[in-house]
């Protein structure tokens, strides 16, 4: 490897659910594009299926690939904090995406979504749509801190609005699981006014279960993360899918690109970039519609 070439390591969780799949896609696509564009950039992409493996991946990048920069979307904050700070101590550039580390000021660049914001925006939308209150069910994600933050913020936002959460179960950000959970919610509760699916993959499953029960007219569904099919339905003014909340998987691409700029441009980009969660309504949906994205 000639000294001019900069190696950027990218470590992300494996594509085990829809959003992560989208994020994987954007990471790969950005890397392909940047490698095409800049001859002196080399990327190492690895995907991990648990925090331990992610730590191993980062160790390997340091020990064998001589990376100059690390872009990491931590599987979990705590376990990755030590290993990532060691990368920093070795004098490498560190970009952290989405999940903050447990200690501050380790990273040079922080690009993230806003999980509490995601739950809050959703909650506020519910309060707005249901001024008299109502009965809702909630499909949660995989039990993780991310999911906890979102749900807590959501609950705080609907506090005192008269909205009653009939039931909450984990749909694990998975279409099949949420389909089954929703089927059972529908058997169990004769009256449901709305569903917070908290993720578009889960919304797909829930909508299918509602369609099967023939109760489409009784309830609407709010998903999240801006899957293109959902945005399209919002855009078309579908009654059942009145809105969406952003949490773009493309943020990883942004992070990789900003990191790359340090090695190809002469203006280092650092600091915090928080990509707030925005409510998508029929009015602004077009802005968030990317028909070519896989997610």
């Amino acid at each position: 490897q000639d000294a001019e070439t900069a190696v950027i390591g990218v470590s992300i969780p494996a594509a085990t659910h829809g959003w992560a799949g989208g994020m994987n896609f954007h990471a790969q696509a950005t890397i392909d594009a940047l490698e095409e564009r800049y001859e002196n950039l080399d990327f190492v992409l690895s995907t991990a299926s648990d925090p331990g493996q992610q730590v191993s991946d980062i160790e390997d990048m340091m020990a064998t690939r001589n990376i100059d920069a690390l872009v990491v979307l931590p599987f979990e904050s705590e376990p990755l904090t030590g290993p990532v700070s060691r990368v920093k101590e070795a004098g490498k550039w560190v970009t952290v995406v989405d999940r903050g580390l447990a200690q501050e000021n380790i990273e040079d660049l922080y690009v993230a979504g806003d999980n509490p914001g995601f739950g809050r925006v959703a909650g506020e939308f519910f309060v707005e749509r249901m001024p008299e209150g109502g009965k809702i069910v909630v499909l949660r994600g995989i039990p993780t801190t991310i999911d906890n933050e979102r749900v807590q913020a959501f609950e705080a936002a609907i506090e005192g609005s008269g909205i009653e959460i009939l039931g909450m179960e984990h749909g694990n950000w998975n279409r099949d699981d949420s389909f089954e959970v929703m089927q059972d919610f529908l058997s169990r509760y004769p009256e449901i006014d709305a569903v917070w699916a908290s993720d578009d993959d889960m919304a797909v499953g829930a909508i299918e279960a509602i369609a099967q029960s023939g109760r489409e007219a009784d309830m609407w569904v709010l998903g999240g993360a801006g899957m293109k099919e959902m945005i399209q339905r919002v855009m078309e003014g579908d009654e059942q899918v009145p809105a969406n909340v952003t949490y773009p998987p493309a943020m990883i691409g942004t992070a990789i690109e900003l990191t790359a700029l340090n090695f190809v441009g002469n203006a280092p980009v650092s600091g915090d970039f928080i990509i707030g969660s925005v409510l998508i309504t029929p009015e602004n949906a077009e802005q968030y519609y990317y028909p070519d994205s896989p997610f």
Binding site: H17, G18, G21, D176
Partner: protein
């Protein structure tokens, strides 16, 4: 493997009683669950809920019927979940690719179904050949192919989700959602396969040969059984059944991703064993497997219909019930 000495020591007198428990154990567990469900929630026995539970069981159920044959003949297949995901992905890609040339019609759905069967057969053949010809332990072969299929679907879907063309999907949907005389298709298909499976296991040479191979491969060989061929057939059969399960699965949500079919293998194996088939082979019963599958889906359903505990603990309750369901029938061995 089976050189168990012929003489069980210290047998007590109640052998008739024990055999009953072995047979009725899973059924009793199922009945207890149904009664508990009916008491906890009035909607539990409603037509809708029963249909939901049965239809959902169909995927694992169809696969578990095939797994019963594999396990009875002393094998194991860890790859079925990933295989299902892979087949679903290939099916969707093929159907989508054919839309421009074939137009949307029954034809395209039939081609999709055929391709599921063919891919399933091929996948089963790969497992079976590696096991019978290259003589690698089934555990390792199928652990390997599990990783391979899972990777392939992730790669095909580019890490994301493969979705079936919307119009094709509308045409295909009824295969999951409608049925005959109010019985959903997946339930019908599952029932038919279970019945055929039970008949094949009990009343055909193939079923006998599976049990013989699982009990004592050497005896089977000396008794004119083509051990390798039968064993290969069990994996191929399982592959085809995974294909059929996928045919029923795809119209449900019209998509496949790397998270499709995760852990189905464990569920299918658990169902088989809960049903009374022996993991070491030599004895299998398909109806038991069906009961096992129903027990597993009922547990999930019950947990969703009630909120006795934190959802975080669902897995724990599931674990406890699985163990309890098997305790019932395992009294038999305890008295040996």
């Amino acid at each position: 493997m089976s050189d168990h000495a012929a003489t069980p020591a210290k047998t007590t007198s109640s052998s008739g009683f024990k055999i009953d428990f072995h047979i009725w154990g899973p059924v009793i567990a199922l009945v207890v669950l149904v009664v508990a469900g009916a008491m906890m929630n009035p909607n539990f026995l409603s037509y809708g809920n029963v249909t939901n539970v049965l239809a959902r069981s169909a995927f694992i159920g169809i696969i578990a019927v095939g797994m019963t044959f594999v396990i009875t003949s002393g094998g194991l297949d860890l790859s079925v979940g990933s295989m299902a995901a892979f087949i679903a992905g290939v099916m969707i890609l093929i159907m989508n690719a054919l839309v421009p040339s074939m137009g949307v019609g029954i034809g395209i759905v039939l081609v999709g179904m055929a391709s599921a069967l063919v891919v399933g057969l091929a996948a089963g053949l790969v497992n079976g050949l590696l096991i019978t010809q290259a003589r690698i332990e089934a555990f390792i072969v199928t652990l390997g192919t599990m990783g391979i299929f899972r990777s392939l679907i992730t790669w095909l879907a580019d890490g994301g989700t493969l979705s079936l063309d919307y119009t094709v999907r509308e045409l295909y949907r009824p295969v999951y959602y409608s049925g005959l005389f109010g019985v959903a298709w997946p339930i019908i298909v599952f029932a038919v396969i279970a019945i055929i499976g039970e008949i094949v296991m009990r009343h055909t040479a193939f079923g006998r040969h599976c049990a013989a191979i699982g009990s004592n491969e050497q005896v089977a060989r000396y008794s004119a059984v083509h051990v390798d061929r039968v064993r290969l057939m069990t994996y191929v059969l399982l592959g085809i059944l995974v294909g059929i399960a996928t045919i029923m699965y795809v119209p449900r949500l019209g998509s496949a991703s790397s998270s499709t079919g995760v852990l189905w293998e464990l569920e299918a194996i658990a169902a088989v064993i809960i049903g009374g088939t022996m993991l070491k082979g030599g004895f299998g019963r398909v109806w038991g497997t069906v009961v096992g599958v129903l027990i597993l889906s009922l547990i999930d359903n019950l947990l969703n219909l009630t909120d006795l505990v934190s959802p975080y603990l669902n897995g724990a309750i599931q674990g406890v019930i699985i163990i309890l369901a098997v305790v019932l029938q395992r009294q038999k061995k305890a008295q040996r």
